[in-house]
Symmetry: none
Subunit: 204 residues, 4 copies
DNA sequence: GATGAATGAGGTTTCATTCAT
DNA sequence: AATGAATGAAACCTCATTCAT
C-alpha cells in the first residue's frame, strides 16, 4: 500500500490551488473554500492535510518558491559561460508568461505578509537567501572565468537582485510605463555594466 | 461657523492613525476599531468621515504618499547641483528612521493591494508616476548641467527607482543581508555610475 | 411675538415630509435623516420638535389621517342626497391621484405597524372608528331619506369599508388584475346593492 | 448518503421560525438572531441555508402562503356543492385560531413590504393571483351548477376577495368593532347575495 | 431655536474550524 | 480518508440620539 505518494500528490494539488488563489486574489482574500473548490475537494479535506489556514498559506508560499526554482534548474547547467547563464537566468524571471507572473504575484504577497509575520520573515529569509546565493555563485563563476568585472560578488548580486525585484514590482502593478521590453532593456544594460568586454570581440 | 479646519484636521488625524495601523499590521489586518482607538474617537466617527473602510484605506494610502512627499519638499530646493540633489533625495528615502520605514511599509502594502484592485492600481499609477517624474526631472537637470551622463533620462530614472524599490523591500522584510549601510553603498555606487566624473578628477 | 404659529408651521412641514418618506419607503425604512433632508432642516431640528423617532412617526400617521379627512370635508356638505354623498365620498378615496395613493400607502403602513404596537393600535382604533362613523352616518341619513335599504347601518358600513380597504390594498400593491376602473365597478355595484331603487325611475 | 430530507427539513424549520417571528414582531423587527433562537440553531446556520436576510424573508413569505394553502387542500375536495365549498373555504380563512391569525399577519406584512419592493411585488402578484384563481374557479363551478348567480366570475371573485381582505385587516388590527362573529355575518351575507335562492324557495 | 459632529449599541454577514458520519 | 453541515466569534456598518456651540 504505497499510500504516501497519494498524500504527497494530494498536498501538491492543494498547494498549487492555494498559489493560484493567492496570485489571483491575494493572501488576505484567499478563502479555504476557494482553495477547496479549485482543488476539487472539500474544505474538510483541506484541513485534513493542513491543520490551519496559516499552515496552508505558509506551505503554499514555500512551494511557490521551490517549484519556481525547479522550473529553472536546467538553465543553470545549460550554459558554460557564466555571463550567458546570468542573462538566461535573469531573463527567465522577467514576468512574461502567466506562470512566471503568477509566481511573482505570490512572491510579492510573501514579502508584504512577511512584514508583519515573523514566521514568514524567516521563510522569506531562507528562500530569498537561497536565490541570492545562486546569483552570487554565478557571479563568482563569471569573475573566475573573467567575464564579469571584479568587485564584491555579494554587492554585485544585491544590485542585480534589487533591480530585478524593483522592476518586477513596477511591472506587476501594471504600470504602463514599465513594459516587459523596458524591463529587458534595463536588465541587459545592467548586465553589460557588470560584464567584462568579451576578449574575442575586443581582439577582432 | 468657520469650522472648515476642524473637518480637515479630523480627517488627517484619522488618516494618520490608519497609516500607522497599516504599517504595523498590514492593510488586511487593519480594523476600523484599531484606527478609531488610535485616533481616540469612536468607530462611528471614523465612518462619519469615511463612508466605508475601503474609502478610508484608499485615502490613507494616498495620504501616505502625499505626506511623504511634503516632508521632502525642502530637499528639492536646497541643492543647486543636481547630482547632490539626487543623492540627498534618494538618501532621504532609505528606510532609516521610523517615519520613513512606516511610509515604506504602507507603500509596499499599496503595491500588493493594487495587484488585485483596479482602483488602487490607478492610485498607484498616479502617485508612482509622480515620483518617477521627480527623479526624471532631477536627472534632466543633471544632464543639462553636465553632472549626469547622457542617455534616455526615463531609462535612467527607471533604473534608479527600481533599485531603490528593490533594495527597500529586502531591507524592510528584515533581511540580515541587507542593512542600511549596504543599501547606501549600492545606491552610492549606482549614482556614481550615472554621474559624470567630477571636474578635479577630470583635470588630473 | 406670535411664535406659536411658526412652530405649528414647522411641525406640519416635518410631518408632511415624514408622510412622504413613509409613503415612498415605508415606516421601517424611514430615516430621521430622510425626513430632515426633505423638510430642508437638520436632524437636530427634527428632534427639537419631536423628542423621539417614535413620536414623529405616530404624529405623522395621525396627521396623514387628519389631513386626508380635511381634504374631503366639502364633499360631506355638497350633496343633499345621501346616496350621492356616499358615492362621492367613496369615489374620493379610490387611489386615483398621487396624493390619495400616498395617503393610502401611509394608511396601510399604519395598519401593519399597529399589529405589533399597542399605541398605534389605539391610534388606529380612534381614526378608523372616526371613518367608520362617518360612513355609518351617511347610511343612516340615507335610510332616513329612503334611498338606502334597511338593515343594521353598522353592518352595512362595515361591508362598505371592508370592501374599499380590500380593493385598495390589491390596487396599491400593483396588481395588474385590480385597475382603478375595476375598483370603481365593484364599488358602484356595491352601492347599487345597498340602494333603494329610485322612486321616479320605478314609477316611470 | 441520502440526506436530502435533512436539508429540506432544516429549511422548513427555519422558515417556520421566521414566519413566527414575522407574525409576532413584523418584518422589519425580525432579527436573524430571533429566527435562529426560535429554530434552536446558530445565526451562522441560518445563513448557511439562506444567503442573506432578504432571501430568508422572501422564502418565509412564500412559504407562509404555500403552507397556508396546503392546510386547506382537503376543503376543496370535500364538498360537492360549490356554494358550500365557497362558504367553507372562506370560513377557513377567517382569523379564528392562532395559526390562521399568524398566517394573516404575515400576509399583511407581505402586502405592505411589497409596496416598496419590486421582488415582493412579483411574489405577491404570483401568490395573490393563485388565490384569486381558486376563488374564481369555485364560482365558475357554482355558476355551472346553478347555485351561484350569473355575472363575470372574476368580478365576483374580486368582490369576495376584497371583502375578506378588508374584514381581516380590521379584525387583525384588533378593532373592537370587528369581531369574528361580525366578520362571519358579513361574509355569510355576501355569499347569500351572490347565491341563487335554493330549490325549495324557487319551487314555492 | 437651530445645527451637525460625534457617539455607540446593535444588526447582518463572513469564514476558519470542528466533528459526526 | 473524506465530507460538509454546523458553529460562533468577529468585523463592518447604520442610525437614533445627544450636546456644545
Amino acid at each position: 500500500m504505497a499510500r504516501p505518494s497519494v498524500e504527497t500528490q494530494r498536498r501538491e494539488q492543494i498547494l498549487r490551488a492555494a498559489c493560484e488563489v493567492i496570485s489571483d486574489k491575494g493572501i488576505n482574500a484567499m478563502r479555504v473554500t476557494d482553495v477547496a473548490k479549485l482543488a476539487k475537494i472539500s474544505t474538510g479535506s483541506v484541513h485534513y492535510y493542513f491543520e490551519t489556514k496559516r499552515d496552508l498559506t505558509q506551505a503554499a508560499l514555500e512551494w511557490n518558491f521551490t517549484a519556481s526554482l525547479a522550473r529553472r534548474e536546467s538553465i543553470l547547467t545549460r550554459y558554460t559561460n557564466a555571463r550567458d547563464r546570468l542573462q538566461a537566468f535573469i531573463d527567465s524571471y522577467l514576468p512574461r508568461d502567466d506562470d512566471t507572473t503568477a509566481a511573482w504575484h505570490v512572491w510579492a504577497e510573501t514579502w508584504v505578509a512577511a512584514l508583519h509575520d515573523p514566521d514568514l520573515r524567516e521563510l522569506n529569509e531562507r528562500i530569498y537567501g537561497q536565490w541570492r546565493s545562486m546569483i552570487t555563485e554565478i557571479i563568482r563563476d563569471g569573475q573566475a572565468g573573467g567575464v564579469i568585472i571584479d568587485g564584491d560578488p555579494i554587492l554585485i548580486a544585491n544590485t542585480v537582485v534589487s533591480m530585478i525585484d524593483g522592476l518586477s514590482i513596477q511591472s506587476l502593478v501594471g504600470s504602463r510605463h514599465m513594459t516587459w521590453a523596458r524591463m529587458h532593456e534595463v536588465c541587459t544594460h545592467l548586465i553589460d555594466t557588470i560584464s567584462v568586454p568579451s576578449g574575442r570581440e575586443a581582439i577582432s
